[in-house]
């Protein structure tokens, strides 16, 4: 069977391992994309792709992106939870790639909660 080529990974490794040694290891921000059936059907994967791009653009290394299941509020999917250290977690609703961009730039990077898109605090 044809194996996917992993040669280029070596280059990435060399490039990124320098930065990684500088990392403190602790995440200051955790962004959760809720990926139940409801979330996926409503477009959570696009939100996740957009989020990964944003993290990459920002150059920040203290932001963790994780998946989780449905919270039980399927009608408000896709939901995204932003948890900044020592602050209350905020759940956003009906997120799409554009809203994700705004939430990331304003809330994750600047700490301004985007109340227009928020579903509530946990």
């Amino acid at each position: 069977m044809a194996k996917i080529s992993i040669d280029d990974l070596k280059k990435i490794k060399e490039k990124t391992s320098k930065n990684i040694s500088l990392r403190s290891g602790d995440a200051n921000v955790k962004v959760t994309v809720h990926m139940g059936t409801c979330g996926i059907a409503a477009g959570a994967r696009d939100v996740m792709s957009s989020l990964m791009e944003l993290v990459s653009e920002s150059g920040r290394d203290d932001i963790r992106v994780v998946n989780s299941g449905c919270m039980g509020m399927c009608s408000s999917e896709p939901n995204v939870t932003v948890e900044i250290k020592d602050q209350e977690p905020i759940v956003y609703q009906l997120v799409d790639a554009n809203k994700m961009r705004q939430i990331f730039k304003q809330h994750v990077l600047k700490g301004e909660v985007q109340t227009d898109f928020a579903l509530g605090k946990i």
Binding site: M1, A2, K3, I4, S5, I6, D8, L9, K10, I12, K13, K15, T16, S17, I20, V33, M35, G36, T37, C38, I40, A41, R45, D46, M48, S49, M52, E53, V55, S56, V65, V66, N67, G69, C70, M71, G72, C74
Partner: protein, 185 residues
């Protein structure tokens, strides 16, 4: 679901919830025999015996946050309406294997969709789980195993944005190469 790849993401998330440490995703597009087979296999806790018969019933779910469970029901319905088959093999020791087949050129068959996004979403969101992804089109295939990638990357985490970006591009490229070459035109 608009894409089969979204079903795959959804079913794989079930395995993650079931505490799996390794998930196999296989897509076999047998276009010459007009079939497409999708299988998602995990080594999680498995489905209890008394539930296995009813698990594709939308009103059966193990979760407690709501009373409906649509993931497997939707996948089974998608296969059924494309003159396909749907099977679940599950046990407490072996985990769960979900297999669905579709008629390739059935008018109701959703496109395979963005497999690269599905796989990298799984990898990025669950770094502690290993994923094996095999995609076959007719006699051509390729495989990706995150255990090998992890070994190669050493100390660099798998969810490093540069790695995820690279993997997405890599899967897209490989899938493009699997496509049969069109000799006409």
């Amino acid at each position: 679901m608009r894409e089969l790849s979204l079903h795959i993401l959804d079913i794989a998330e079930n395995g993650i919830t079931a505490g799996a440490s390794c998930i196999h995703v296989t897509v076999k597009e047998q276009r010459d025999t007009n079939r497409i087979m999708i299988s998602v296999r995990d080594n999680g806790s498995g489905i209890p015996k008394e539930m296995i018969e009813t698990v594709t019933d939308p009103f059966v779910t193990s979760r407690t946050t709501r009373r409906v469970g649509l993931g497997l029901s939707l996948f089974a319905a998608a296969a059924k309406r494309c003159d396909g088959d749907f099977a679940i093999d599950s046990g407490p020791e072996k985990g769960t294997a979900v297999t669905a087949t579709f008629t390739f050129d059935h008018i109701d068959r959703a496109p395979v969709g963005d497999m690269a996004a599905t796989i990298t979403t799984l990898i990025a969101g669950n770094t502690d789980i290993d994923f094996v992804y095999i995609h076959q089109i007719n006699e051509n295939d390729f495989s990706l195993d995150t255990r090998e990638i992890k070994r190669e990357l050493d100390s660099v985490p798998l969810n490093e944005p540069a790695v995820i970006h690279h993997l997405t591009e890599l899967i897209r490229k490989e899938l493009g190469e699997l496509e049969p070459k069109n000799k006409e035109t």
